[in-house]
């Protein structure tokens, strides 16, 4: 019986060369490229917002109220139309993206630092310290964060630093659990024991050896946290207890634009679309990062 050998290449090699484009698309799926481009654009806007806005985002022009976007009967003076006070929607959206992205990144950074620190402390001391940390984590998990946020904002009032620090507490408990578990399992690995037996201090073992080895998982936890913070910030601003006017953010725009959803839907649709696409992009990139960084998935 003849053996089918169609699959084999003529030189007898069992490896088949992939075409350049296919190989490229396999490492960089189109969705991931789109997500990365979008996030790059968002970061670019966040950094250069004052240079990009055609108008001051707070400038009121009562004569040009509720102008529709350019292809819906508007003019190129206001590409995305204007709101009820005649403020340029594009300018406001750019300013909002800057505020929201900054808050999301700062808050995620804070929650990651808090979480990793507490997780490492719990993993290093074990015993009652570990129990205390885990109890606080459980207490945090048992309470909806939204209620805590509303209570804190009601008592402490609202300013940008307080708001960022409050959102920085969002998600720390998940990072703590992940960091604690990974540190405990890394501690039993040979490299951590070997570092200890060289005479390295606990600080060195945790920061120089364990942290780099578990960083992949931590980075993924961070990317999963960012959309949560953006949505939380939007919800709080939508409820009117987040950033106060004339400050603006994406949620703030949605919240104040909802009154005009029938007559001037572009005021809230524009920031809503940005929220949806940004959170989606971060999630897609987080998924892709996990597959890339984790060597066991390859």
């Amino acid at each position: 019986m003849a053996i089918e050998q169609d699959g084999l290449s003529t030189d007898g090699s069992v490896f088949t060369e992939k075409s350049g484009l296919r190989a490229f698309l396999q490492t960089w799926p189109p969705m991931v490229i789109l997500a990365i481009v979008w996030l790059g654009l968002m970061v670019f806007i966040a950094i250069f917002a004052p240079l990009l806005t055609p108008y001051d985002f707070m400038a009121v022009d009562v004569l040009a109220r509720l102008k529709p976007p350019v292809f819906f009967g508007g003019t190129f003076n206001h590409v995305l139309g204007t709101d009820q006070l005649g403020r340029d929607v594009l300018s406001r959206a750019i300013a909002s993206i800057r505020v929201s992205i900054t808050i999301a990144l700062c808050a995620t950074l804070i929650s990651t630092i808090v979480g990793v620190t507490l997780g490492f402390i719990a993993a290093y001391f074990r015993g009652w310290v570990d129990q205390v940390v885990l109890t606080i984590v459980d207490a945090q998990l048992a309470m909806p964060f939204m209620i805590i946020a509303i209570a804190v904002l009601a008592f402490l009032g609202n300013s940008l630093p307080i708001f960022v620090m409050l959102l920085g507490l969002y998600g720390w408990e998940q990072v703590t659990r992940i960091a604690r578990g990974l540190a405990i399992s890394a501690n039993t690995q040979g490299y951590a024991a070997a570092a200890r037996e060289i005479g390295a201090s606990p600080g060195r073992i945790y920061l120089r050896h364990i942290l780099p080895n578990i960083s992949a998982t931590i980075v993924i936890a961070m990317t999963l946290n960012i959309p949560g913070v953006i949505l939380l910030e939007s919800s709080l601003s939508f409820l009117g207890i987040g950033l106060q006017p004339p400050q603006t953010s994406l949620g703030n725009m949605v919240g104040y634009g909802r009154d005009y959803i029938q007559s001037a839907p572009w005021i809230m649709l524009m920031p809503s679309a940005v929220i949806v696409v940004t959170t989606l992009s971060v999630s897609i990139m987080g998924d892709w990062l996990r597959d890339r960084i984790d060597p066991t998935v390859k």
Binding site: Q189, G190, A194, A195, R196, A200, N213
Partner: protein, 336 residues
């Protein structure tokens, strides 16, 4: 300054609880049971024995990586503790270990060069980057690694190269005490020879005190000045390698030596021990080896032989230490 290593009555017991039985009595596993020996400054002591005889536990006890149940280890006048505090960490400057599993002991995310230099960063933070690099290169040269290996990661090296990285990392501190736990057992024979040559070169240069653990008698004979044979957590015989390996006195040593294949010896001369070593949880009373000993006498079942030294050689066996008692016991046994 090299120091003398003194071990007094060192024991390490593990408590075991039987699975699936809440009220079961805990049992004690005596991994190391009363070791006493000295290693002179600059001497290399080999420890041989079969699997489960407590060799690796001994290695970790000597360096204070695990705490002893009782007894003490003194190196260079200082007691070796097992609490990883500042003094313990300082002591690491003088004592290092070479691991059996090199891949496990290396950090997968750090380059080889940095890992070899790490003890220097830890213990001599004042040393400049360039001086450290130069030192690392020199040590890598000593163990036969080329300098371009310094930028590689552990998974990019072969097993023998990784083992040499571990050795380089231990040697970069120029330790006074080096404990090697089966450093060459994972390597093929040609690499074994290379690594052993490296050891002997460095010893000739720095002259560290060493404990070399292996189950390979040929390797130990090549490298050790004195050799101890362990069985079930105890030393049964200790002496110079040529004596122990050419005229073993303890029946267990004799069986161990006869297990090494040699040219021109008929297979019939081999002493084959019956059965496995007893479970270390239930060490039999009397001599622990009596269950497998081909020359067992009644007294061996009752009384545990002590390690008796005679001119640098020590054996724990009734047959050797007081043959008269053994014979009397035999006579008693026949009379009874």
């Amino acid at each position: 300054m090299k120091g003398q290593l003194t071990v007094k009555n060192l024991t390490r017991h593990y408590r075991l609880r039987q699975r699936g039985n809440l009220f079961a009595r805990t049992k004690t596993l005596k991994a190391v049971d009363g070791l006493t020996f000295d290693v002179a400054p600059g001497e290399m002591l080999g420890i041989v024995g079969e699997s489960g005889s407590g060799k690796s536990t001994t290695a970790r006890l000597l360096l204070g990586h695990i705490s002893a149940t009782s007894g003490e280890v003194v190196f260079g006048g200082e007691k070796v503790g097992a609490v990883p505090d500042l003094a313990w960490r300082r002591m690491r400057r003088r004592m290092q270990m070479i691991y059996q599993d090199p891949l496990g002991a290396l950090d997968p995310r750090i380059t080889i060069g940095e890992q070899i230099g790490e003890p220097l960063i830890v213990h001599f933070p004042d040393i400049t980057r360039d001086a450290r690099r130069a030192k690392v290169r020199a040590v890598m040269g000593n163990v036969g690694l080329s300098s371009h290996h310094g930028d590689r990661f552990p998974h990019e090296l072969s097993g023998g190269q990784r083992q040499r990285v571990i050795i380089a990392r231990a040697l970069v501190m120029e330790p006074e005490l080096l404990v090697c736990d089966e450093p060459v057992s994972a390597l093929d024979v040609s690499v074994q020879a290379q690594v052993l040559n490296v050891f002997q070169d460095v010893r000739a240069r720095n002259g560290f005190t060493g404990v070399f653990i292996s189950h390979d008698l040929k390797v130990v004979r090549q490298i050790a000045d004195r050799v101890a044979v362990m069985y079930l957590g105890r030393i049964v015989e200790i002496g110079r390698p040529d004596e122990v390996f050419h005229q073993p006195l303890h029946p267990y040593s004799r069986a161990l030596v006869s297990a090494v294949p040699r040219k021109g010896r008929s297979a019939r001369e081999r002493i084959i021990l019956a059965g496995d070593p007893p479970n270390p949880v239930n060490v039999p009373p009397g001599c622990p080896f009596h269950t497998r000993c081909p020359q067992v006498k009644p007294v061996c079942r009752i009384e545990r032989p002590e390690l008796m030294s005679e001119g640098g050689r020590a054996v724990a066996c009734h047959l050797v230490n007081n043959p008269s008692t053994a014979r009397v016991a035999v006579a008693d046994g026949e009379a009874a």
